[in-house]
């Protein structure tokens, strides 16, 4: 409980310090949008409108109304190593989303919808860190400070197969490349030329869903989304040869993800969702790169893939003008990371060097995620215009884990644990 209290305090402090336009929810950790985040980060089968841009762009297909949504989200981390708190920047930011059915006529009538989903973190569009391998680092969880720009297009295949929708999308991330060139300038003094470039990296998404009256199925795939920070440091005109230094690494990585989900409505106002999310971590190369072209790299991260099961329930109460939805869910997020351990460094080409064992403190724990949420829909116009406000909260409990090595090289094996609190709201107009 002290841990929970501490997390609550952190969360409260984060909200207090947050600027008015704050909050962001890194979609891979916490889901996207006010409704699906309260339903255990599900949505592949049922999400509609702007939320479907992330969950499954096929969900844009049945949208018939324009949507504009804004929201805030934020959270607090209380992660512990041997009971001591590990500093990790809490995520805070803003959600902006839209969905726009394209009003073509003829065979394209009610056929195509485009949408956008954006996260804008409050302080940094992207925070990327590559640490020395021996430094304890939460590589899986410390991915919360990054902007997301996702665009999607959904197609309703009514007339061909009623209820079937397909969708594609693309998410963009920024990568930072740069050169620091230290050399003699025109005045024979050492000066530096710094050139930094942001370039975009794109990850496609695709999905399909089928909705019958009382049930639905969805399948989606999100390709890996990654961001690199790559700085080359060159020192010329020195009396000695200094190699080109490659500084940076992989600072943001969302693994390829496959989601299979179904929902069932035993009665019209009750929905039960079952979801299996498989993140494919096997191709994760690790954050570090060798500092010189022929230098030694950090050990391989050796992450593994495990499915994450999720279950969620949504109940509705409604009258002519208002609708109230209550939501709850549970997800188990197995850790893909092996325990912190002594591991062999690698050559620049990736071969392990068995004789060069170094401590590698890449930390992660299994997580049990409890979510809850509520939504109010207000019908405001005669033509069906609606205002929808959704709120959600998530509690991530990190299952205690004992690693193979300690915090210090000579210490006893360390134990990691923790709690994450995350919450937010969105408001959207449909017109």
């Amino acid at each position: 409980m002290p841990r929970l209290a501490s997390a609550l305090a952190t969360c409260a402090l984060a909200w207090t310090l947050a600027p008015a336009l704050a909050a962001a929810s890194p979609q891979d950790l916490f889901g996207y949008g006010g409704r699906t985040s309260g339903l255990a980060m599900t949505g592949t089968s049922y999400a509609e409108g702007y939320e479907a841009v992330f969950a499954n762009p096929a969900g844009l297909g049945p949208s018939r109304r324009r949507q504009l949504a804004i929201g805030l989200a934020g959270g607090g981390f209380d992660l512990r190593i041997d009971g001591e708190r590990a500093p990790l920047t809490p995520p805070r930011g803003m959600t902006i989303g839209f969905a726009l059915p394209i009003p073509f006529g003829d065979v394209l009538e009610d056929r195509i919808t485009i949408g956008g989903a954006f996260f804008t973190p409050a302080e940094a569009l992207m925070r990327g860190t590559v640490r020395f391998p021996a430094v304890p680092q939460w590589t899986v969880l410390d991915r919360a400070q990054v902007i997301a720009i996702i665009l999607g297009l959904g197609v309703d295949l009514h007339g061909l197969v009623d209820g079937l929708h397909v969708g594609v999308g693309v998410s963009a991330l920024a990568q930072l490349f740069g050169e620091l060139d230290v050399r003699l300038d025109e005045t024979n003094a050492f000066s530096s030329i710094v050139e930094l470039q942001l370039v975009a990296s794109y990850a496609p998404t695709a999905g399909i869903n089928y909705r019958a009256d009382a049930w639905g199925l969805g399948l989606s795939y999100r390709h890996e989304s990654l961001s690199r920070l790559d700085l080359s440091v060159r020192a010329r005109d020195l009396p000695i040869d200094v190699p080109v230094l490659n500084v940076g690494g992989l600072v943001q990585y969302d693994p390829p993800t496959v989601v299979l989900e179904g929902y069932w409505r035993p009665i019209p106002d009750l929905m039960v969702v079952l979801n299996v999310t498989q993140r494919i971590w096997d191709f994760y190369p690790g954050p570090q790169v060798p500092t010189t072209d022929m230098g030694r790299n950090a050990p391989a991260p050796e992450l593994s893939s495990y499915p994450s099961p999720r279950v969620a329930v949504e109940g509705m109460v409604r009258d002519e003008r208002f609708e109230l939805a209550l939501r709850g869910g549970y997800a188990f997020e197995p850790s893909p990371a092996p325990p912190a351990r002594l591991a062999p460094r690698r050559t620049a080409s990736g071969e392990p060097i068995a004789t060069d064992l170094v401590p590698y403190r890449l930390l992660d724990n299994h997580r049990h995620v409890l979510t809850a949420g509520a939504g109010i829909t207000i019908h405001v116009g005669a033509a069906g215009e609606r205002l929808v406000i959704d709120a959600f909260g998530q509690l991530h409990v990190l299952q205690d884990r004992t690693h193979e090595i300690g915090r210090a090289d000579a210490g006893a094996p360390m134990v990691t644990s923790g709690v994450i609190l995350y919450g937010g709201w969105t408001a959207r107009v449909e017109f």
Partner: protein, 454 residues
């Protein structure tokens, strides 16, 4: 009015990803660029997301715009090509109108995404000449979303809060460099923190339409400056501990420490205030005029600060092999720019209009006096006045029902800018750069397609 108030809160509260950079130099869209940007009073296509966000609610129609834009620079210093990089990329715009009851509003999206990069910053040696307004500033993505309302039929407001980001990089390197075999023998590792820090700025506009043939408009775009901060630390200052770094020369270890702090402004966009008017003396003819005030006097400088701390403990036996080079710290230098007022005029003529097709021809001109003073001292923020002429044409296909209940437009523009020769005469007769002449041409063009749903 309660709804209007709520919508205004939405306008002010919408922290939209927006910015202004290549737009400031080359404009957005094709029709608006062909009209030299003199469109603040009556713009209504998705380029309103840059020119005046109030315009996105103007005609109440869903509009989707996509196109391509490119600019090629031929800028020279003493007739040597400065090889200022071309700018080209994708332009996308969206106006989405809506009604709740009889209350009209709209939201809009404007995007310019360069082909090569999202953004670039360069920190150059202090005295090196650089085309201050063209070298780096256009290399920014532009992403804006806005909300606009029309409380009464002759008045529209629009706005959003934009943001961009700049980078902060903090890196540490430790280990040893083997002087004899620097690539193979060096044992180094690093730790780096890279932040893209958020900058926010507002953009608001108003359009007033007292009659069908007369429009007025005003827009304010906020200021921002993109910094480029880099902090590098190699080794530890006391030459000890896990973070120590040094050189190995044979069996000799030479402890070393380097700390470099480089902070500069990679791109600056000043506060801008535009007032425009447009008149249609006959339905087929539109004339727009505009004045834009750019507050360049608030620009501090692109020439930033560099602090270097380099220490090395050279043993006597290596004194002749390792010589510590001269290192100098530098401080920011004021730019001393001046405000400028840019006049614009654009004329559009519709020679043909029928229920099936309409054709438009356009022309425009604007003049930008350079805000940069003559570069008489050691620093060289190069700029010259700019005369820009533009031509454009558009064709609108109107008979596409039932598939398209609206119209499909194709617009093309070409823009030529002349930067007349400007001589920079140095105060010192032995200035390292010396006197020079800056001049050049810029060729720009673009093609956009717009789908409009009635």
């Amino acid at each position: 009015m309660r709804r209007a108030g709520a919508a205004w809160l939405l306008v002010l509260g919408l922290a939209s990803p927006a910015a202004a950079q290549s737009m400031d130099t080359y404009g957005m869209g094709s029709r608006s660029v062909a009209l030299a940007g003199a469109v603040t009073a009556d713009v209504e296509d998705p380029s309103a997301n840059y020119y005046n966000p109030a315009g996105i609610v103007r005609d109440g129609q869903l509009r989707i715009l996509a196109g391509w834009f490119g600019a090629h620079h031929e800028l020279t210093l003493d007739d040597e090509d400065s090889n200022v990089d071309p700018v080209h990329g994708l332009v996308v715009g969206l106006n989405v109108p809506g009604n709740i009851g009889d209350f009209r509003f709209a939201f809009g999206l404007g995007v310019h995404l360069n082909d090569q990069r999202v953004s670039r910053t360069r920190t150059l040696p202090r005295t090196r000449p650089r085309w201050e307004l063209y070298d780096n500033r256009p290399h920014r993505a532009y992403l804006s979303t806005h909300v606009a309302i029309e409380p009464v039929p002759w008045l529209r407001f629009g706005g959003g809060i934009g943001f961009l980001s700049y980078s902060e990089v903090d890196l540490r390197i430790r280990g040893t460099i083997d002087v004899g075999a620097p690539e193979r023998g060096s044992a180094l590792e690093h730790d780096v923190l890279g932040n893209l820090v958020t900058i926010r700025f507002p953009q608001v506009g108003v359009q007033v339409q007292p009659t069908d043939w007369l429009d007025f408009g005003a827009v304010y775009r906020g200021e921002y400056a993109l910094s480029s901060d880099l902090h590098a630390q190699v080794g530890s200052p006391d030459f000890a501990g896990d973070d120590a770094a040094g050189l190995t020369v044979g069996s000799i270890y030479v402890p070393a420490y380097l700390e470099l702090l480089s902070a500069s402004t990679g791109a600056y966009v000043p506060h801008q205030l535009s007032f425009g008017a447009s008149v249609r003396p006959i339905p087929e003819l539109r004339i727009g005029v505009e004045l834009t005030w750019l507050m360049w006097s608030l620009y501090r400088s692109a020439i930033g600060r560099t602090d270097i701390d380099f220490r090395i403990v050279v043993p006597p036996e290596l004194g002749d092999r390792i010589r510590v080079p001269p290192l100098t710290n530098t401080q920011p230098v004021p730019a001393r720019f001046s405000d400028r007022v840019v006049p614009r005029i654009g004329v559009e003529w519709r020679p043909h209009a029928s229920p099936e097709v309409a054709v438009d021809l356009r022309g425009g001109y604007f003049y930008e006096n350079s805000p940069a003073p003559e570069q008489a001292d050691a620093y060289n923020l190069v700029d010259a006045d700019r005369h820009a002429w533009s031509l454009g044409a558009g064709i609108e296909l109107r008979a596409l029902r039932p598939l398209l209940p609206g119209s499909l437009r194709f617009d093309l523009h070409l823009q030529y800018s002349l930067l007349p020769a400007r001589a920079m005469t140095k105060r010192s007769p032995i200035d390292p750069t010396g006197d020079y002449v800056a001049q050049g041409h810029i060729f720009a063009g673009g093609l956009v397609t717009e789908v409009r749903f009635e």
